[in-house]
């Protein structure tokens, strides 16, 4: 195995590549960069409109946001358990865990849909004010990523049930799982930033 003396290996054993396809990690980094710019734009827009942002934040459904955090993190946990089970040649168990992740992800979409319906019902839209322009565009950008993540999870669930993955071939399932965890990761920053911090 190739050894890079300039790259420290904090754990015992050789330095290894991340799980899944390397291409998915470049894609994840690009996605994180886009969300990072969006988060910074929100934070600096808030700095110029503190009173508006603090007042409007009080109109958000914080319990729904917290529930959605629980759902996304639990979905991520299910997916991680599914990958782990599949890597130990227990694909049937792995598929059940992935189904659990799909259910939690679906729960997120339902809760967020109810939140959007309440806001649109109250006549709120992108041009209501700067806060809601950011709230709607930022959360909807994330919402679209949850939908893509759900499609990936459904494909992985189907393939895992068919016995496509196992200890000898984990590339596809690990790549798809990494994408799903990225969607979770982004929400972990989004929820405190948009719903709580004031």
């Amino acid at each position: 195995m190739e050894h890079h003396p300039d790259i420290p290996a904090p754990h015992a054993g050789p330095a290894v590549a991340p799980p899944g396809d390397l291409a998915i990690w470049f894609f994840i980094l690009a996605e994180l960069l886009a969300f990072g710019v969006f988060f910074a734009a929100y934070a600096f827009a808030r700095a110029r409109n503190v009173e508006l942002f603090n007042e409007m934040q009080q109109t958000l459904d914080r319990p729904a946001g917290a529930l959605n955090t629980v759902l996304l993190i639990t979905a991520s946990w299910c997916v991680a358990r599914g990958v782990e089970a599949t890597s130990r040649a227990r694909a049937a168990t792995g598929a059940r865990w992935l189904a659990g992740g799909i259910l939690c992800g679906g729960g997120f979409l339902v809760v967020k849909g109810v939140e959007y319906a309440a806001k649109f019902g109250a006549g709120i839209n992108l041009s209501t004010n700067t806060f809601y322009m950011f709230y709607l565009s930022l959360t909807f950008f994330h919402f679209m990523h949850v939908i893509l993540g759900m499609i990936i999870l459904i494909v992985l669930w189907w393939q895992t049930r068919q016995g496509v993955y196992g200890p000898a071939d984990m590339n596809g399932i690990e790549s798809g799982a990494a994408y799903w965890h990225m969607v979770d990761l982004v929400w972990i920053v989004l929820f405190p930033l948009v719903y709580v911090m004031r």
């Binding site: 990072g36 917290a66 946990w77 965890h181 709580v196």
Partner: protein
């Protein structure tokens, strides 16, 4: 690499951390966690949560430092920008 006990433990920690974030929003001002202190606490909690998702759920623990560095670096950079913007807002 991954084991079920570690994954379950991480899930429990993430749930407790989420409860802490929610509590700061609900009762933070009453218990004296408000303003910059609340901001710092919220960012610290999300850094802890994000790091656990990266290391254990994404499976980056023990992976080349390059990848962990990029991912955790993103988390720290975004948190720093949020903190700077928050600080500017208090001026």
């Amino acid at each position: 690499m991954m084991n079920t006990r570690q994954l379950n433990f991480v899930w429990v920690v993430l749930m407790l951390a989420t409860a802490a974030t929610f509590a700061i929003g609900e009762i933070g001002e009453r218990i004296g966690i408000a303003g910059p202190l609340a901001m710092a606490a919220l960012l610290a909690i999300s850094i802890i949560k994000g790091r656990l998702v990266m290391l254990d759920f994404m499976g980056l623990r023990g992976v080349k430092f390059f990848w962990r560095g990029l991912m955790i670096g993103w988390l720290l950079l975004v948190s720093a920008l949020i903190a700077i913007a928050y600080w500017i807002a208090t001026k």
